[in-house]
Amino acid sequence: MSTIANPLSRTYARPEALVGTDWAKQNIGKPGVRFVEVDVDTKAYDAGHIPGAVGFNWQTQLQDQLRRDIISKPAFEELVGAAGISNDDTVVLYGDNNNWFAAYGFWLFKLYGHRDVRLINGGRVKWLNEADKPLTVDRTEVTPVRYRASEPDLSLRAFAPAVLEASRTAAQSLVDVRSPDEFTGKIIAPPGLSETAQRAGHIPGAKSVPWSTAVQSDGSFKSAEDLHEIYIVKTGLDPKHATIAYCRIGERSSHTWFVLKYLLGFERVTNYDGSWTEYGNLIGVPIER
């Protein structure tokens, strides 16, 4: 995948997709390695970021501002090119809340065909709590380049019709990664969030595995053995069976999508980015609580 050495454990299915904080530090400023921060809290990047990192705002830059959708291929090309990222660069993503939106950014880069994309294990919180890892408020100077994206790889993305069919026929597994209170319909969304739905509950047939089950207290992912135990042994998901992950707006499910695809090696796993804010607003679809 890349010539850049990655010393992380090989027990994950595709360990090259994950880099440690030490690896990231060693590669600051290295030609061909570009750091990209994507946060839930859009103030975080301005307060301090990895030297040389660019920051993408998930609300205004990764989403289409007119219709509800990810940004278009031309918009993605413009965004990434303007950030000085070339098609051959190694893109290293990180962010707050244990990489929620960094994982969403990872998914988007993969959807548009970027070859070498990685996630910093533990994200921003782990970096912040390690004394030797620098942060800066210095503006990152970039030289815009021409970036060419591929047509979107729809094998990574689920839409509502496939989700409804999965629920009806069990042709695909569904995994709900929201909090238990969202899954059981006690609440529609975490308090204070503007994106919500008309109805509470979950998609019939979905299994509940909150995203945070996959992480350790320092923010990094649990070991391959632990993840195998959680998702495959206890929850009964099958790596050979097509699987759809969903949450509220598609960011927490990107995190689980990454876990299933890159750490556990699920062959066909998609992110339903419409998630509960689409499903919970649809007329007439079945809901369980």
Binding site: D96, V125, L128, L135, L193, S212
Partner: protein, 321 residues
């Protein structure tokens, strides 16, 4: 300076100490058993109205002594209000400032008080979907400022700085020991940064290992500003479970109703966290036996009028034209 006459050359001389303790007041109406005396330690009698004056003052002095506030550096701290209010006011009077990073759920009264005390305010989203050890947005953002802009900011970090607990080991604990003449049998405290419980309990246990330390926490998903449920204590590095005999989890709505009872029947203007601490003490006293309980009442009700009305809607009756 004279504590007897209460004449001071500046406000700093008023800071609580063994010679100038906050008052200890016995509950006369609401204590359930005569044999189990309950005394409230009125931390709102501190200059900026809360127990946090103690930690803020100690943290500030420590930074000054270590030369961390030279060349125009300001403090940056994550705060649910009281620490920030104290820090901003005290730092302002000593020539530096505070950038206070506060969760959005903090009551408006506290946010305005932070501004009144001179803080620069930065409000961040509340926890979206808690994960173990994730920390909170406000703490992480304050840490980010301190790490990315060390020329501008230094972070006292009340959640991890041992000075916070030391402030209580040096003042709150010795005050209680002297005020009760060593008769204290139970200490009742709420949990936030855990500086109060850790420092006070450590001192009292050294004097008498049999002192029972009871921590009171609101139920999960609570709305009691400044307090933490044990599930939220991952960020509080000062939490030392070995110093606590029992943790009582109490329906957070009782924080409000008990505070109201303290106001109306004891003439103590107790805030919701004091109400919660009182409910914990009341339950332990009701078990029977003799006791001499000291309850730390962190602050008064004056900055919680909106929260009180939210949880006790009848308080709104007769307030409109």
């Amino acid at each position: 300076m004279s504590h007897a006459d209460r004449v001071y050359e500046d406000v700093f001389e008023m800071m609580p100490s063994l010679e100038n303790p906050t008052p200890l007041v016995r509950l006369r109406t609401l204590a359930p058993k005569a044999a189990f005396a309950l005394y409230a330690k009125l931390e709102w009698m501190n200059p900026w109205g809360s127990v946090k004056d103690r930690a803020a003052w100690a943290l500030l002095l420590d930074l000054e002594e270590r030369g961390e506030l030279k060349s125009g550096r300001s403090l940056v701290e994550a705060t649910s209000g009281n620490t920030g209010i104290s820090l901003a006011a005290l730092a302002g009077a000593r020539g530096s400032g505070l950038r206070a990073v506060v969760p959005n759920k903090v009551p408006l009264e506290k946010k305005i008080l932070l501004r009144i005390a001179g803080a620069q305010l930065e409000v961040v989203s509340d926890e979206l979907c808690p994960a173990p050890g994730l920390g909170e947005g406000s703490i992480n953002l304050a840490k980010t400022h301190a790490k990315a802009s060390p020329d501008r900011y230094v972070m006292p970090n009340q959640y991890e700085n041992e000075i916070n607990a030391l402030a209580h080991y040096r003042t709150t604990g010795p005050e209680i020991w002297r005020q009760t003449q060593g008769r204290v049998t139970h200490l009742f405290v709420s949990l936030g940064t855990c500086g109060t419980v850790t420092g006070t309990a450590r001192f009292l246990r050294e004097q008498n290992p049999r002192v029972q330390v009871i921590a009171v926490q609101p139920t999960e998903g609570h709305d009691v500003p400044g307090l933490r449920n044990v599930s939220q204590l991952g960020v509080s590095k000062l939490f030392d479970r070995s110093l606590i005999d029992e943790i009582l989890e109490i329906d957070f709505e009782l924080a409000y109703t008990r505070a109201l009872e303290l106001c109306r029947r004891e003439a103590l203007p107790a805030g919701p966290s004091s109400g919660l601490v009182f409910e914990g003490a009341r339950r332990v006293a009701e078990r029977g036996g003799e006791g001499f309980g000291v309850m730390i009442f962190p602050d008064n009700v004056f900055k919680y009028t909106a929260n009180m009305a939210k949880h006790i809607p009848s308080l709104m009756e007769g307030t409109q034209l």
